[in-house]
Symmetry: C2
Subunit: 368 residues, 2 copies
């Protein structure tokens, strides 16, 4: 960053402005989680695991949009065979998602999983859970304990003296205690629900009861693209703003490649991490004299391939435009059929509306 960008330096100085709960550090295939490490972005493939090429293709696309850890389901022996091939060619650490069958968990560890995710409540018995713990311990592989509102232990679920978040937290805490009693502490914990209030209350309880265990946050079954984006952004955002959460997954019923994009937008919005440029663009109103939505959409599209964490302003009027554009690294304030391009607080060019986008990106290229 050069001297012409005072505001971005300020933005970087305030990175991680939020109080982070001091959890233990766990490494998943070299990606640190907890103990103040940057909040890691996760996603999950939805291809058939037995289709190695399709799964690796999707992992590649997830990596392109900033996914840092990927989870792959291993539901069968055939999937386990494929899993080994996936792990050995994946550009990202691969977590095996296991339900019901502890032998698949042990097999995934042997096949090179960076971690395994199990719900101890559906593995069948503590003896079987212990077999997974021991295999992970020997291999030095972390386990994510994943408790889910949809598959609570029946005994806990039946207790009428507990709220739903208390049931989820109690399940999670009792599993963690069991793991620790067996000498295994390489744990990441998640307790997911599909509604935000349960997600908030459960994770607050977990953070209070287990302050050293890194938490994986997510709102599960959050819905399609828009609803899932809103639920994840507010649910995860509220917790992260409280200093709770060490890694996140945004769950969407959509192309998985949408998930890391939303996750990064969230971390960027909170001032915690930034991966791509941010656009500051006004909502337009009856004062707007240019086709600002088209300009902003095109700027966003062109910025997506730019890995400079700068702030670009696209403003549609003279009321707030120049003031806001001054605060960005670069910006344009549009009047009637023309634009004023600003950089580092100085007007650098006045261009016709048709030339705004090209001129803006010419100036962005000069920011190097």
């Amino acid at each position: 960053m050069n001297d012409g960008m005072p505001d971005l330096r300020a933005a970087e100085a305030r990175s991680n402005p939020l109080p982070r709960t001091l959890t233990r550090r766990v490494e998943v295939g070299g990606v640190p989680i907890g103990a103040g490490a940057p909040v890691a972005v996760q996603s999950m493939t939805n291809t058939r695991t037995t289709d190695v090429a399709a799964t690796l293709g999707q992992i590649g696309r997830l990596a392109d949009v900033g996914c840092e850890i990927v989870r792959v389901t291993v539901p069968t022996r055939e999937a386990l065979s494929a899993f080994g091939s996936i792990v050995s060619s994946s550009p990202l650490p691969v977590v095996a998602d296991i339900h019901f069958d502890h032998e698949l968990a042990c097999g995934a560890i042997a096949a090179g999983a960076a971690a395994v995710r199990i719900n101890p409540g559906n593995i069948g018995s503590f003896e079987r859970v212990d077999a997974v713990i021991d295999a992970a311990g020997s291999a030095g592989v972390p386990i994510r304990i994943g408790v889910n509102a949809g598959s609570l232990d029946k005994g806990v679920d039946a207790r009428e003296d507990l709220s739903h978040p208390e049931k989820l937290a109690l399940s999670a805490v009792s599993f963690v205690r069991h793991f620790e009693e067996r000498g295994f502490s390489d744990i990441v914990l998640s307790a997911k629900a599909h509604d935000v209030p349960t997600t908030l209350e459960t994770n607050r309880l977990l953070s209070r009861e287990l302050p050293t265990i890194p938490l994986h946050l997510g709102v599960t079954e959050a819905g399609t693209l828009r609803q899932g984006t809103v639920k994840s952004a507010c649910g995860l955002g509220i917790l992260l703003a409280e200093g709770i959460g060490d890694t996140i997954r945004v769950s969407l019923t959509a192309d998985p490649a949408e998930e890391p994009v939303v996750a990064w937008e969230l971390l960027s919005a909170l001032g915690m991490r930034r991966r791509t440029p941010e656009i500051v663009s006004c909502p337009t109103c009856g004062r707007t004299e240019v086709d600002l939505v088209s300009i902003a959409d095109e700027v966003t599209r062109r910025m997506a391939t730019l890995d400079k964490p700068i702030t670009v302003a696209v403003m549609g009027c003279v009321v707030n435009g120049p003031g806001e554009a001054r605060g960005a690294d670069i910006g344009v304030a549009c009047g009637r059929g023309q634009g004023l391009i600003f950089k580092g607080g100085e007007t650098v060019r006045k261009v016709a509306e048709a030339d705004i986008i090209d001129a803006l990106f010419e100036e962005i290229a000069r920011l190097d």
Copy 2:
């Protein structure tokens, strides 16, 4: 709601579970704001105000998606003439958005504005602001004092001893004090910035300094559809979860009709207000045996016209599907090429994949 829907009753019982700061009550064209009233959803037209038909058309579309108060810019005398026609035919209370010219503010009040929004800092002098205050007072019309990070008072902006949120809050507080000293207390206050950390800190300061003044929340110039949705959902969500905020506007550089939809998704996610059905749908994974994204998208589309605040689950696998679907009012858990439809915890039908959506909506229709 009938006896078969225990979870929805629980959801309704927990409506407004968040501590609401006890602000004064202000009414904008009959819509209450503050004092524990439901958080009102606002938006703003981006048509030319002089085009009465286009503006009324857009207001109609905003009303259709749940907008409760609409703001219209009045930048000129010509716009003011049109504004009167818009107000008299609008299905929603109309707030006049005024910059620079106090005579336009007074004219808008005379023309029947439900409220006026001014930034006292750009009206020119306190004498001119006082003319607006007196006109509003005589007409019984509230004023939104709207301070904006992009147009701060130069004297305040120059102070090096204050942080940016402190400058915004100081501007806002001094304006409110002036209004109150003149005997006018029918105030809604907003202080908007384009970044979430400034938005959070500024509104926390305002809530602490002015606990009785209703706050209008928004992240301004939040960006295009996805980025703006994420920034608004986390920024506004964090404040609402802290009990701060009495009315909201989601700002998007997009069709204004997207804004109330996101606002309602947010209020629904937080358990504060619900307008349309909610979908609970899983993110799909390698275990999914049906085309769940298409099914969930189609269910979402069909639900949009349904004004029952029910929860519909669309689940793609046997692991969490049945458990989650039981918690919804109605749901489907999909296996290989077929679906089990649940209602109130009971399986009601087993249907082929092609019939899932029709069968689901047949059962939803029977929920009346």
